[in-house]
């Protein structure tokens, strides 16, 4: 009790002193008028938004976020049932025959909140070993998600992966079932870079006009699986029984699930994954619409030059996600108090909050977008947004010379990630265990050390250790709960995985057919000869008995 009292006393005293700190901080009276805010939308950016919402609690701010998908978020903002929304794409993107018109009931502005990569998380084993270093060209990705490629051992995929002998199992694409900005980003990329494949798919699913879309069209009965939210897709792919699946999620979800993502071939001929640095490099080529006179497009992204970025570090499916901010009061219950709170939340996430996103699988926003974001925050009624102070903003991309620190320090991809006969063994995404590779024709292990992959990962060890199936199988004593964590794979017990070979559907060459035929005849003979001989002998005996009466 005494401790509690003294603590309260301490806090009360400190509270009094604190007024000074507030004065040196910002001009307004700290948290005095923060009010709770509700938002909804994108699951792509949800992990970042949740982290920010948790951290601003210490500043007296209550932010609720409901990850229901970008489409739903835009709709709720338009209806006025949320104060703000998060969406991976703006309003007004032509989606088939839907135009998704911007709200007319309330003013709005887009503000980039985080950058990241839409990744292809997959579940593949070779023998008992999980594949963690799959590489895919854009064409193959499009063919997988339009049902053209059906088996993992397809020669087209082999071409991307000369070091892997992929199994002859069915490819199960997992797509988003809800209205999703990730789907929109992905289909926009397909339309731009693999147009003929996407248009052919549009024809197949009767989408006319053929555009990018937020609702992935599924051919009924095709075996393609639809799941709600990034968590639904990653949850589906990560099941042990889901071998053969591949789905698209924000990088964050693959990291959380502990699963690998496909390295995607870029224009420079390198297969890359969306590390924070690679995304930052890629988005240096994003064209941001800076025409302030048109709020419907201001700050929206045109990614066509990202797709064709010739920097070897480029990850083509890099993009920004957005907050949709209200710029008028009244509708949806928006007040200047809410506007003030939202302004400070925006200020937090553009500066300090960008330090939290790397660990989650996102990439921090660069300075030009932070500056533009500050301008957008100023359009919220009630927001108090000071001029941005580069020094105290604490955004990890900021540098003294104006370049993007993340992009500047981002290492080049290792040589083994270049298109060609070698293939890196290093793991990807949330699965850092290396996968041994072979050259396509030979049998030698290409133990290419996996040079530092990305800005933040530790060097992965070269070579590979076996993966005990797709689940954690550390033996534990059920009675004591003590787990054997050390020795299961000591040198004496190394398991060697078979590298499976696709079984052909033909019967083989002449020799093989002849051998099979001979074996079949002989097998029949083994089964039938003894009883026939015995029967014959018995008959002879019977005859003898009848004829001679010998007893």
């Amino acid at each position: 009790m005494a401790t509690v009292m003294s603590l309260i006393a301490t806090l009360t005293t400190l509270g009094g002193v604190r007024a000074d700190a507030a004065q040196v901080g910002t001009a307004h009276a700290a948290d005095a008028s923060y009010v709770p805010l509700s938002g909804s939308g994108s699951t792509w950016s949800q992990n970042a938004i949740n982290a920010w919402a948790a951290n601003v609690q210490q500043y007296g701010m209550v932010i609720h976020y409901n990850g229901l998908g970008s489409t739903f978020g835009r709709m709720q903002f338009k209806q006025g049932s949320v104060d703000w929304a998060a969406s991976d794409i703006p309003y007004g993107v032509q989606d088939g025959t839907n135009f998704d018109p911007p709200p007319t009931t309330r003013g709005f502005a887009y503000m980039p909140d985080t950058a990241g990569g839409t990744t292809f998380m997959y579940n593949l084993n070779i023998g008992t070993r999980r594949v963690t270093n799959l590489r895919l060209s854009g064409e193959n990705i499009a063919k997988i998600f339009t049902g053209v490629l059906k088996k993992w051992n397809d020669p087209a995929i082999k071409k991307d992966n000369p070091g892997l002998n992929l199994p002859a199992i069915k490819i199960v694409p997992v797509v988003r079932g809800d209205g999703s900005g990730a789907t929109a980003q992905f289909t926009q990329w397909m339309l731009a870079t693999q147009g003929s494949l996407w248009r052919a798919y549009c024809t197949k699913v009767n989408r006319n006009p053929c555009t990018q879309t937020s609702a992935y069209p599924v051919v009924p009965g095709s075996g393609m699986v639809a799941q709600n939210g990034d968590l639904g897709v990653s949850g589906y792919v990560s099941q042990r029984q889901a071998v053969g699946t591949i789905g698209y999620v924000e990088f964050s979800y693959a990291i959380q699930a502990g699963f690998p993502v496909a390295k995607v071939l870029n224009r420079a001929g390198y297969y890359t994954e969306p590390t924070a640095g690679h995304v930052a490099v890629s988005l240096l080529k994003a064209q941001i619409n800076m025409d302030k006179t048109n709020p419907n497009t201001y700050l929206t992204q045109n990614l066509s030059q990202v797709y064709s970025n010739s920097d070897p570090r480029t990850y083509e499916l890099s993009s920004y996600s957005y907050m949709i901010l209200p710029t008028t009061t009244g509708f949806g219950g928006l007040t200047t108090s809410k506007g003030f709170t939202l302004g400070d939340f925006g200020k937090y996430l553009l500066c300090q909050g960008q330090n939290q996103v790397d660990s989650l699988g996102y990439s921090a926003l660069p300075i030009n977008l932070v500056q533009a974001g500050f301008d957008q925050l100023r359009t919220i009624p009630g927001a108090a947004i000071p001029n941005i102070n580069i020094r105290t903003c604490n955004n990890p991309t900021f540098s003294t010379d104006g370049t993007n620190t993340l992009a500047r320090n981002d290492p080049m991809p290792p040589a083994c990630d270049k298109q060609g006969p070698t293939q890196c063994v290093t793991g990807t995404g949330g699965a850092k265990t290396p996968t041994p590779v072979t050259n396509g024709a030979g049998g030698a292990t290409t133990a290419t050390p996996g040079a530092t992959n990305g800005a933040s990962g530790p060097n992965a060890p070269a070579g590979g250790l076996p993966l005990g199936g797709s689940g954690p199988l550390v033996p534990c004593d059920p009675d004591t709960g003590a787990c054997d964590t050390g020795t299961a794979n000591a040198a004496g017990e190394q398991q060697v995985d078979g590298l499976p070979t696709a079984t052909g559907t033909n019967l083989g060459d002449g020799l093989e057919i002849a051998l099979m035929a001979i074996a079949a005849v002989l097998l029949l003979a083994v089964a039938l000869t003894p009883p026939l001989i015995a029967q014959g002998a018995a008959n002879r005996r019977a005859r003898r008995n009848r004829d001679g009466g010998v007893a």
Binding site: T3, L7, L11, L14, A21, A22, A30, P36, A54, N55, V56, Q58, G60, N165, R207, T213, S214, A215, P217, V218, P220, A226, Q227, N228, L231, G235, Y236, Q239, R240, I255, A257, L334, C351, N355, S359, N394, A431, T433, T438, T445, S456, P461, A462, L467, P472, C476, P478, G481, A488, A491, Q494, G498, T501, E512, L515, A519, L522, T529, P530, I533
Partner: protein, 894 residues
Amino acid sequence: MTRERTTSASAARWRVRVRVASALTSVVAAVAFVAVGPTGPAGAADTGPIDQITGNGSTNSAVTVSWSQGLLDANNQPLPTQRDPGSPLAFMYPDFEGLTVTVGQTQNLVHQSIRVTWSGGTPTGHPGGAASKLDDFLQMMQCYGDADSGPIPEDCQYGSMGLLNNGSGGSIAPAAIGSRTGNTCLAHSTPSMTNPPPLADGSPGSIGCDTLEPSNPSHTQPGQEGQPAYSVPFIPFNDQTQHVYGAATTFYDQFNTNEVQFASTDANGNGQVFFQTLTRTEAPGLGCGAVESNGKPRDCWLVIVPRGHILANGAPDTIQGINDSPLGASNWAQRIQIHLSFDPIQTNCPIGASQEREMSGTQLVSHAVFSWQLALNQAANCKTLYGFTATSEPQDTVDLSNPNGKGLAFTTIPIGSEAERLNGGASAPNVPPLIYAPVAASVITFGFNINQASGAVTTAIKLTPRLVAKALTQSYKWDLPTFRPSDGTSLGPAWAKNNPVFITDDPEFKALNPGITSPASGSPLAPLLTEDHTGVNQQVWQWIISDAAARKWLAGTPDEHGMVVNPAYQKLNLGKAAIDSYPRADPTCRDDGIQPGPPPKDARQCSLDILPYVNSLDDAAIHVRGANNPDLGREWDPAATAPDGSTGYWDPGGIEPVGRVFMWAVMDSASLANYGLIPADLCNSAGKNCVSPSTATVAAALKAAKPDHSGLLHVAPGSVGANAYPLVQVTYAAVRVTQPADALSDFAALITFAAGSGQTPGVLPGQLPHGYLPLPTNLRNQAKAAAARLVADAHATGTPTGGGTSAGSPQGASPGASGQVTAGSQPLAPPSSALPYSTEQASDVPTKATPATHTGTVRWVLLVVVVVGLVGACGGPLLRAGLEGRLSLPWRRR
């Protein structure tokens, strides 16, 4: 303590009176407890002080009040006016007369959960009410109100949309009970049970109306004049001119309100709710705890409106059910009000006051870290701030291994050791030198929200390891996509024919939890789960498989009633080794075929559609509290709007209807306590020796904890002994030794606080929130020693930016470079050369490619074997035939 604090919060001239009154109140409360003892709320911990682990209990500022006492004043003393037996509304009284309510804490409140229990109520689903109507329940709300006589309806936060599922067809609980509106009666009419007055527009009186409304001209919403309806506006505390009609989303909405729209009373007349008190930070329209110009925090009220089975105009609820707002004058007159005094709201640091020191790690500590942040921010005068991001175990290893990454991660396992578990013993990464400091002891529990027609369940649910195994393995029929009895054909797979439909049908569950019935229809009853792979999940499985009966059942042996494990899970050998995640392994899907378009759609449901994961333990608890089932829904609705805008989609489950709520989740006890959910007692396989999560049982388990090779303590659930709660986790702050001195100092400050004042139990800023066990002295000392070591390292490192040691490689020379370091009394971990992993070991697994031809020389083996076999087979009979004459073979001669 509490009494003194209240005194300072009251006007000076009342000081003495308050002191006496509060003391009296406490005595009254104590007496009331004794008085209602036998019929009072059931449950072991119910009448005791607040338990640190579950947050269940009362403080010495608890207040008990009976309905018949009438209203309480701002000192929680009865106001002179009692219930008037001559009131025209006296026909309502019999439903409320016996009601006695106890509020667990009424002073020094912050944003927290307080327990509200009641007894002597009329059971929900009153025998005199209509079978299809749920009547006789309580509604609760927080109000401001500066008058000694208490609040007016305009002062109350109530009426949010989307909290109640009123059931199909609106017959269960009309949505209007969750609103601020109702019907008005014909002017100047009086209520009558024999001849209920009609509505103001002449509609039949059986619909129900309030003869006292509009009790104020402002209760007629502008623009609605002439309608037979009243609407009570919300008026924010700091702007009496503002009248907000309808759902006042400007001030509160379904996501941040604390209103209770339906709390049911069980067959014994008892009930319980954990009510979340809100300060101005969470409820800006009420302003509770806001410091006034006189330096005192604003007080508030808890208003409880009991609802009966007769409408306000005297009509029975057989036609409409109870269908109007608790704010309508007739209903409002029946309220119970309890005065709540708040602690002053702490002033928070402004955003950007300084750079946050970023930390990451297990979500188990998030509630504690938030509390500590508030105190640390103040103590550092906002010059040091901390940020915390909940991350996965592999990400913590990446962060700490990166010389420029985050310097502190909270973890329950040695950093890097997860690689062994995740990858089957493979390739643990090199981890730079770390210091581990214990900061929190958390508890994993199963949090329930069960609210049935028979009342809300308020006592702990009893579970055995095998019951949890059953619930985690999609072995109850309703957890299978292919089971849907409503169409009469989809009765599930053959293997499940002897399995119960719900856990509530399982004889094992029923024997332990009598009185809990199966819901009439609805959603799966499986617990909500997270997708992650963690040591925490593994401990749950360790507990399950520490039980022989659970192991046997997981291996395929049916239980005594013939229930078997889902074969998809049997294949996973779950009883052999504890896994670290919750798989959704059933591969079957229900296929409703292709639904006609345009465009045509696959109507297919698989396991994750009916049992989706949730984002976090906190998210799980929020879903359970809100009875918000995330499943996609089982029925295809041709009229529903699909994501692509076309028609035809699943009819989503959403909020479970009142009276049919059964939700639970695996969660940490901090989330459980924060949201006031019902915990589970964990029993042995015989259903005996059930252990509740409590201060004593968690402390007992911690005593049985054993250190791993890095010195981190682990509770082995199978060997904690009797009266110890098996699912306890110690969280450590793992700090990278090689980092700038100022970072080391900041982390040392956090650890010092966490191991000191931060272990004081309580809900105030800086205290250890409910759900965590205060660390024992030896662990606190260990943490303090670790902090001292960090401070020493910081001094040795020198200036924050200079020095080779801070900028060097993770393996570089540094004070702690000998490997993983655990400070304090624990032995130092072995040096790095003895670590169970290194790149050398990892490099030379022989891997050989399969030859280009499918089989090689092995293809000849079959041929040779068959030839030899033929020779042998023929040889025998031929030999015999040759010898036939000389040997007698009787069995051939039959």
